[in-house]
Amino acid sequence: MSAKTLELGTFDVADVAFGDRTAFAGGKLTIARDEIATLASSDPAFAGVEVMLVRPHESVRIPQITDVIEPRAKSGGTGGVFPGLLSAVEPVGSGRTDRLRGVAVVTSGPVPWLGAKGLFVPHDSVLDMAGPGADLQPYANLHLVVLRFTFKDGVDHEGYERGLLLAGEKVARALALTARDAAPSSVEHRDLSRPAAALPRIVYAYQVQSQGVFMRSRLYGRVLDELQPTLVHPNELADGALTAGGLGGHGVKLHTWMHQNNAVVEHLVAAHGKRWDFAGIVLHRGHFYLYEDKQRVGLRIAESATLLGANGVVFTLGGAGNNVTEVMLAIQECERRGIKTVLITWEHAGPDGSDYPLPFAVPEAVAIVSTGNLDEPLALPKMDRVAGDQAIRVRPEIGGVPYPIDTAITLERRTFYAGAANPIGFGRSGSVES
């Protein structure tokens, strides 16, 4: 049996501009605005789309973000990017994948609320490309192609979600296809073949959030709301087998870009065969509504890690709240079996950082890395430009109140800031014991 091997070709994008035809040459990506707008807005959910370009570290605030996607396309091997959505359900993660580095597609716009309440409201968010907010997420260094949609009446939330998801992926693939005849900046070979030397065998337990419309993740196009822990190869993530699709929990949300470029996976792959033996990913979901369901998830993760021969498991969180319970129970079961664990997590530590930081913990969780405090207020200066509406909608429980963002703003919590305390360690935030 041959190991799954992926050649990941990287094409560095130094500049992005509008032009007559969509093309990539000499590190410059040219975008035919009308062509991309037509491709993006073909879904019946949309009334229209505005295509905007934002430069790295430009003084711009982007509101109402649904997803961020890195342009990628297959140029060899089976299947296509975003299998089960844009492409057929075929194996991905081997052959050749081309990606444009330095540019990302952002889907955005005011998704109608349709009277939704509670969790399942398409919440608004902001993201700054300059100032202190730029340090909190991984996108400020990138050129962003912002697709700002307007929406047709008579479509339900399932329809809006699906339209947004596919539109972002279609544009991302179309942009990556422009690199087909160019010379890559680098080509990396990725596989998990077993190293000759005995190295610690490491599993990544990757939690995603999937809780219904606008709070979902998908694997090969399948909604993960009832996911039981399952094995995934890191090369499958590289080809977009795992996608985001939500508008909730922006501070801790994992965009598709983060699945494609997950910092934990990248580090585990980069030093595979040198510092450790990366055994693979156990993908799982938290937020189950019964304690017994949480125990089952913990058990299945520990059993999978045992079967993979793990010496250690790295855990990260998908979303915030009671999903910590599944992870803590998995940590407890792994440690009882002699498998060492480490958790990378945000903190719910109150405005001044002094509260008990996690809703649930077990004594076996002795190695924890903080990615920052979700509850710390965030003061953001005025940006020169807002790439969208000049106000976002807050307080859905009373039908929505406009919150102006064309000025300096202070967010009481980081919930509305995209990527503010993302749980896989992107951005320059963290905390230390004091």
Binding site: H287, Y289, L290, Y291, K294, N322, T325, P359, F360, A361
Partner: protein, 66 residues
């Protein structure tokens, strides 16, 4: 305390913890007919009142909804 996450409540210092239904609806079950839901809620409240009368020396989980 009536909660679907009994061990979490006990861990955080609740003395008497009654097992509730699910996280989004600890004190009832919207999938039941109104009569069944009513009976379930009465049972939970009775279990909670019963637990108040029990002598305990540490955080204790009581059976409520099953």
């Amino acid at each position: 305390m009536i909660t679907a996450l009994g061990p979490v409540a006990a861990d955080l210092g609740a003395n008497r913890v009654i097992r509730g239904v699910k996280i989004p609806h600890p004190c009832g079950d919207p999938t039941l007919e109104p009569a069944g839901d009513h009976a379930l809620r009465i049972g939970l409240v009775r279990a909670a009142l019963g637990a108040l009368g029990e002598k305990i020396d540490k955080a204790t989980l009581f059976r409520g909804a099953s």
